[in-house]
């Protein structure tokens, strides 16, 4: 069983703690730069500062769904199939949904003072909302009963389909005429429209949110792995209680049968 290795989390305990400290430090630096050091925008004034959270949140969501996709491919590929990738995909999607929700909320807060409205039915906003619900659907799909393998495959395929929307969100501002502005840094011309301290603050935000993502991914993965372990142990205990401590004990139980029985057995 790989339970011990899984329970340690993706990062070792020391790496995880260091990442947590680095994340906190980067977020504090971002607050200082975003609120005090970066100058107000010529046109938007102080409202533009929301950009230092909105853009990094969107980036972190893309990153999270990218990792979910990668882990899902590794799960679907028979040679690399492992429950680890299934859990990484799930944990990353959870964090990604949080960042997508954050992107939508922060964007709304930015839109009100600048555009004059909380929400616009333009392509960027709608495809982002679709993204939010696609991965929310993915997370609920993960909870449907089934054997570990069928659940894993099903979720992995769903993850690949949901990811189609990520490039659609990113390029929506180029493909369609939107109220939302085009990308400032990764625009088609790859010509950043932000410089100096403002650009530095934006990159600092990207760094801080990337660290936040890594830290949260590790934490969520650890929780999912512990959950998996607990269910296995509870199931073994239930089997032992029913069959007695004979040779049918849990040592040889494969992940497939345990998860298959999970739907029926309530200890």
């Amino acid at each position: 069983m790989t339970g011990g290795a899984r329970r340690a989390g993706l990062l070792g305990p020391r790496v995880s703690a260091t990442t947590g400290v680095a994340t906190a430090a980067a977020l504090v630096a971002l607050v200082v730069f975003g609120l005090a050091i970066a100058p107000p925008d010529e046109i938007q004034g102080d409202a533009q500062r929301i950009m230092y959270l909105h853009v990094p949140a969107a980036w972190a969501a893309y990153l999270a769904f990218g990792i979910t996709t990668l882990a899902s491919i590794l799960y679907l590929w028979p040679r690399t199939r492992s429950i680890v990738w299934d859990l990484v995909a799930g944990a990353s999607a959870e964090v990604g949904v949080v960042f997508t929700g954050l992107t939508l909320a922060l964007g709304s807060l930015w839109a009100r003072p600048v555009w004059g409205i909380w929400w616009a039915w333009d392509a960027r906003l709608v495809t982002t909302a679709v993204l939010f619900f696609l991965y929310l659907g993915y997370l609920s799909l993960r909870r449907l009963p089934g054997t570990a393998e069928s659940r894993g495959k099903r979720a992995a395929i769903a993850a690949l389909i949901a990811f189609i929307d990520v490039p659609v969100v990113h390029f929506s501002v180029n493909w369609w005429r939107t109220l939302h502005q085009q990308a400032t840094v990764f625009n088609p011309e790859l010509d950043p429209q932000i410089h100096g301290v403002m650009a530095f603050t934006l990159w600092l935000g990207v760094l801080a949110f990337t660290l936040t993502y890594v830290y949260l991914l590790d934490r969520r993965y650890r929780l999912l792995a512990l959950d998996e372990d607990r269910e296995e142990r509870e199931l073994e205990a239930a089997i032992r209680a029913r069959v007695g401590p004979g040779p049918a004990g849990g040592a040889g139980t494969t992940a497939g049968t345990t998860a298959g029985a999970r739907a029926g057995v309530t200890p």
């Binding site: 009963p145 069928s150 389909i161 005429r177």
Partner: protein, 157 residues
């Protein structure tokens, strides 16, 4: 669950393949969702337009039957004036066509009255064609760009 039906005639007793078949349905449903997304991308490409340009709006004026739409363009330099009845009047252009907008309603905080020569101030106005070829707007959205610059207060002596 499977044993409740009193001897179903054609249905084979499906004990084991049940969950597998359900998984297949779920996958099929997801493929449909993927297809919908793909259709949205292919089908709506070039169709999802949040606003009409001034030229498009002028071209569609004879046939649009006074329906509501959004008009997007740049505010013409020093064209903003306030009318005695409280409404606001300005001209909006896309470089080829220009339209006079009469706006009645809230004015967004970032709307500028002192648009100078050579400054692009893009706005999106919601409303419909009014009398004498003007656009009757009741909502202005500021369609800001993707450029950010520090305030230049130090340049003013």
């Amino acid at each position: 669950m499977t044993a409740t039906a009193p001897a179903p005639p054609a249905d084979p007793p499906a004990g084991a393949p049940r969950p597998r078949r359900r998984a297949r349905y779920v996958v099929a449903a997801l493929l449909c969702v993927g297809a919908i997304v793909a259709l949205l991308v292919v089908g709506l490409r070039g169709n999802v337009v949040y606003f009409r340009t001034v030229s498009e709006a002028v071209a569609a004026r004879p046939t649009d039957g006074g329906q509501r739409f959004r008009l997007g363009g740049d505010v013409v330099a020093s064209s903003v004036s306030e009318l005695p009845d409280g409404s606001m009047r300005f001209r909006v252009t896309d470089g080829r066509a220009t339209v006079t907008v009469v706006h009645r309603g809230e004015e967004p905080a970032l709307f500028r009255h002192d648009v100078g020569e050579g400054q692009a101030v893009p706005v999106v106005c919601e409303g419909r064609w009014g009398s004498r070829g003007t656009f009757a707007s009741d909502r202005i959205l500021i369609n800001h760009g993707n450029e950010y610059e520090p305030e230049r207060k130090n340049f003013e002596s």
